[in-house]
Symmetry: none
Subunit: 158 residues, 2 copies
DNA sequence: TATAATATAGTCAGAGATGGTCAAATCGTG
DNA sequence: CACGATTTGACCATCTCTGACTATATTATA
């Protein structure tokens, strides 16, 4: 029964039991479970996704690591998923600005932060054919939304 | 695991904590850390780059030295112009992130704001052919920089 | 002074150490 | 069987560190 992925998931969650974050070596963990390193990525993608309330941070090269942070359960959990879904693959400028406005109303971002987000997805920033614009805006906005929720966690690095 | 580069970076920043510049011997420093002298150059290139607001000055031969100076802008306005000029029509991800890093070091943006800016110009956000990426990133970053300084206008302690 | 010796620092290609991505193979279950 | 979930492996991306070779400045010496 116990699929490899489930074991790895449980293992990681045990490591996190007291802390709400854990740092690990991808290759070490893979070796510990005798599996391919990419298996770890699979577990992270399916069991520790942003939608499920986890943030993954990593670094390559010597001294590399993978850090998993569990977001505190909060109003945001469902909101983020809902927002990401609403953005989907393409979004107009108006809709994007509306969404950002909503974040300030909820006190999830400061006015300054909202200003930056608007600057990033505004039409001035996106010098591209109109058709491409909405798609690109969606990609950027998704990134920004995720970042907003990371910020709420009081991140450890910059 | 604290990488050698990270230790060297921290060491140098401690030396600079009060002064905004420091002078050191490359070989001495390398010996102190038990590494190859060129390692020092690596740290300088990656952690004390011009994008991050540092200027390196050095001299070879007997009595040679390496001097690291942190640039401190007098007026926000001048800095904005300088940054916009440096962005120009195209900018790499590294350079963009370096610039954002500089803004946090100068306390012009909070860590959260820097995170948002990085999210807006990171490669994950810009799903485009590489050649187009830098140009688009430049456009977005210019917008963000302008917004940063707009935000500063309303600040009491600026 | 001209030249050689010595003392520094810089550059760059490549090795090593990690982690990431993606598509194909495999597994399990309705 | 069909189909989604899992697992793997080949190939890619990034970060760090070193060593051989190069460049430049100072000092000693003929």
């Amino acid at each position: 029964m116990a699929q490899l992925s489930d074991s790895i998931e449980r293992f990681i969650k045990e490591l996190m039991c007291e802390e709400n974050q854990v740092e690990l070596r991808r290759n070490e963990l893979a070796q510990h479970f005798g599996c391919a390193p990419s298996q770890i990525n699979y577990v992270l993608a399916t069991r520790f996704s942003i939608e499920r309330g986890y943030i993954i941070d990593s670094r390559r090269g010597g001294g590399g690591y993978v850090r998993i942070v569990q977001m505190r359960p909060q109003q945001g959990d469902n909101l983020l998923s809902a927002l990401l879904e609403r953005v989907d693959n393409s979004i107009s400028e108006d809709a994007a600005l509306g969404m950002i406005y909503q974040l300030t109303e909820l006190d999830l971002v400061t006015e300054n932060e909202a200003g930056l987000m608007a600057a990033a997805v505004g039409k001035n920033a996106l010098a591209l054919p109109v058709s491409t614009k909405d798609v690109l805006r969606a990609a950027i906005l998704r990134n920004l939304l995720t970042q907003v929720f990371r910020n709420l966690e009081g991140r450890t690095d910059a």
